[in-house]
């Protein structure tokens, strides 16, 4: 059974490889922010993190599961674990085709006017890459609004 645990320094190369193979954002992959999914024989098969941007917004990011381990609920487990351990408002970006998956997990698509600066910029750059035909799919920015369950304080 695949298990989740906080990443250690030794996981850093594996995280980078997973993220690169999934063609996700290769920046800001500091291992202390990550949790990893590990197979019974110790293989790193998935990862995810929550990172904080300069504008203060927090992003659920770098969610990857190795192809051979997909459709087993691992991504959902990583997302739920990270969402649970980071109460309050969380943002994410994903390809248009993944929108319905994240909607089931409580995230909603937001428009440009509602986006923090970082996501407005990413959204704009992605639209440019789309316009330049470097990427074939659109990008969604989504947000989960959840009251903090720590001390009853909303972020």
């Amino acid at each position: 059974m695949v298990q989740l645990r906080p990443a250690s320094e030794m996981d850093a190369p594996g995280i980078r490889t997973l993220v690169h193979q999934a063609q996700l954002n290769p920046l800001d992959l500091d291992w202390p922010r990550f949790i990893v999914a590990v197979s019974p024989d110790g293989e790193l098969v998935g990862c995810g993190q929550v990172k904080t941007h300069r504008d203060g917004s927090r992003e659920l990011a770098s969610i990857v599961v190795a192809p051979a381990f997909r459709n087993q609920g691992i991504a959902r487990a990583i997302i739920e674990h990270l969402s649970g351990s980071h109460p309050g408002m969380l943002y994410l970006t994903c390809r248009t085709s993944l929108g319905s998956f994240y909607e089931k997990l409580g995230y909603q698509i937001i428009q440009k006017e509602e986006m923090p600066l970082y996501f407005r910029r990413i959204s704009h750059l992605f639209r440019l890459m789309n316009k330049a035909h470097l990427v074939g799919d659109g990008l969604l920015v989504m947000r989960r609004e959840q009251e903090s369950n720590i001390c009853g304080l909303a972020e």
Partner: protein
């Protein structure tokens, strides 16, 4: 180092007087050899400006012939050149622009098997191509021989430019790992004009050693909204093209 003659000193006076350029910078330009892959929309401004700047030897490679549909953007060519090989047409135009430089046209289709013979050992490569299959050939050559590559591409109103010199920067495959859909693409003539001009600027800075190149940065231009947006780009750790190079 190439010696400048009196004509050079007059012809290139306005750039020699640019702070940091001087006769030394101009001598470097005169001694430089560049390889321009593509004599189309991007290759036109690149070749025009590098020739005008006095780059000593310009090889321009394109296997296509001039067509009427090229003429909204490919300013190296004109109506009377329709049907001619683009590389030959480009060489005629460039020699007329600047008789003091060497222009070497090549009308072969660039492939992995002939790249070494066609490209040789220039100081810099300029990607002015219209397809990613050949771009990846040029990228592989750049990595294998350690020659910097200035990538440029356009689609409609939009284009991008970056300076690639792995392992210091990503390679093209790190940034665009799978080729975007090919085929005939729309092109506002000015878009390759803008991007190609920036490519030429990148090459001149590299050749003279002045300024900062777009290393680790892909600059996107959107003519429709008139914006320039830099995007930070990084090496792919397991890039099939440059992953073997040291981190």
């Amino acid at each position: 180092m190439m010696e400048l003659n009196d004509t050079d000193r007059i012809r290139y006076q306005r750039q020699i007087s640019v702070p940091g350029w001087g006769e030394e910078g101009q001598a470097r330009i005169k001694a430089a050899r560049v390889f321009i892959a593509g004599a189309g929309g991007l290759g036109s401004p690149v070749a025009f400006y590098l020739a005008a700047a006095g780059v000593g030897e310009i090889t321009i490679c394109d296997s296509d012939r001039v067509e009427l549909t090229n003429l909204n953007r490919q300013l190296l060519h004109s109506d009377e050149r329709i049907g001619e090989l683009k590389a030959e047409s480009a060489a005629k135009t460039l020699r007329r622009l600047n008789p003091g430089i060497q222009v070497v046209p090549n009308s072969e289709h660039l492939e992995g098997t002939n790249a070494r013979r066609i490209i040789g050992k220039p100081d810099i490569l300029l990607d002015c191509l219209d397809n990613y299959a050949t771009r990846y050939v040029l990228n592989a050559y750049s990595i294998e021989h350690g020659i910097p590559l200035v990538h440029g591409a356009i689609w409609g109103w939009v284009g991008q430019v970056t300076f690639l010199s792995p392992p210091v920067t990503p390679c093209l495959k790190c940034i665009v790992p799978t080729p975007p859909p090919g085929g005939i693409f729309p092109a506002v003539g000015v878009t390759p004009g803008v991007i190609g001009t920036l490519q030429a600027m990148e090459a001149l800075k590299f050749l003279t050693g002045i300024g900062t190149n777009l290393m680790g940065t892909m600059l996107f231009f959107d003519g429709e909204e008139m914006t320039f947006n830099p995007l930070q780009v990084r090496r792919g750790v397991s890039c099939p093209a440059c992953g073997h190079l040291p981190v």
